[in-house]
């Protein structure tokens, strides 16, 4: 049983890291999309 716990914990570390990476990528992508949706800096104060 303890051997299986060891193996499961090895799986857990890898799956956890992959999950963290996937969530981080999703958040960065969402942030990048919202930043690109905003008007570029200076565009609101264009010369009249």
């Amino acid at each position: 049983m303890s051997d299986l716990v060891f193996v499961a914990s090895a799986y857990g570390v890898i799956l956890g890291v992959v999950a963290v990476y996937a969530v981080t990528l999703s958040r960065r992508l969402a942030r990048a999309r919202s930043a690109m949706a905003d008007p570029p800096p200076g565009s609101a104060s264009a010369p009249e």
């Binding site: 051997d3 193996v7 499961a8 570390v13 890291v17 990476y21 990528l25 990048a32 800096p41 200076g42």
Partner: protein, 238 residues
């Protein structure tokens, strides 16, 4: 929408494959429970090869076309490949401790060449951060992405060319793929895990690719934003 479906499918497939690997297939007679780590180890290793192969191909594509898409694909492949290689090494270490009696052995060609592979692509990611010039960054990355890929066949055939602690390849030729020297349920579980992680790999590469394209577009916009005020600034003394 399709990417979201892919992500959910990957999550479901990995959950199912992990449950099968841990609780459904029997433990190996000789290696015991530790053998269950092999399903993850082998799948991660194959996907690491695929990732770096994608990076090398996209790097060549960049050098020929100088297209942003090529650089984004190369970066996505390298980053996901580093993740897969780290997973391969971690799983191998966790398997090696109970079976070999050691986590690591530097004298083993497969282990050492895999560590070099990981280090070279971590270097690829670090070197990309050394410059803000996107063209220079992509070109430097492309050269490293192609040169580092030379190590892929060396890693794979290291167990054939040299003697070491790591066992030889289980699936080395079409004959052994069709008639594998392992029980059918072990092979089926390995293929299930490979399929599940391939879905996750595809989702990660697509997501990282999209992020890279947006980052490049944001850099372009920021550069234009800096240039516009300079171009329209009143001249000194006027």
């Amino acid at each position: 929408m399709a990417t979201r479906v892919l992500g959910i499918s990957a999550l479901a497939a990995i959950t199912a494959a992990t449950a099968v690997a841990l609780f459904v297939v029997p433990a190996d007679l000789n290696q015991g429970e530790a053998q269950r780590i092999m399903y993850l180890h082998v799948a991660a290793a194959w996907l690491a090869y695929l990732s770096f192969g994608v990076t090398a191909a996209a790097s060549a594509w960049w050098l020929i076309t100088r297209g942003q898409r090529a650089d984004a694909v190369a970066l996505a492949g390298a980053e996901v490949g580093v993740l897969c290689t780290a997973a391969t090494i971690w799983a191998g270490m966790m398997w090696g401790r109970p079976v070999w009696g050691t986590f690591w052995q530097w004298e083993d060609p497969r282990l050492t060449t895999t560590a070099i592979l990981l280090a070279s692509y971590v270097g690829y990611l670090l070197i990309r951060r050394l410059t803000d010039d996107p063209v220079r960054r992509a070109t430097r990355g492309a050269v490293i992405g192609i040169v580092a890929a030379i190590n892929i066949p060396i890693v794979h055939f290291s167990v054939v060319w040299w003697r070491g602690l790591h066992q030889g390849p289980t699936f080395v030729s079409p004959d052994t793929i069709l008639n594998p020297p392992a029980p059918g349920q072990f092979v089926a579980t390995l293929l299930l895990m490979l399929g599940a992680f391939s879905l996750a790999w595809l989702w990660l590469v697509i997501t990282r690719y999209r992020l890279a394209r947006l980052e490049w577009a944001a850099e372009d916009r920021a550069r234009r934003g800096r240039l516009v005020p300079l171009a329209t600034a009143p001249e000194a003394g006027s």
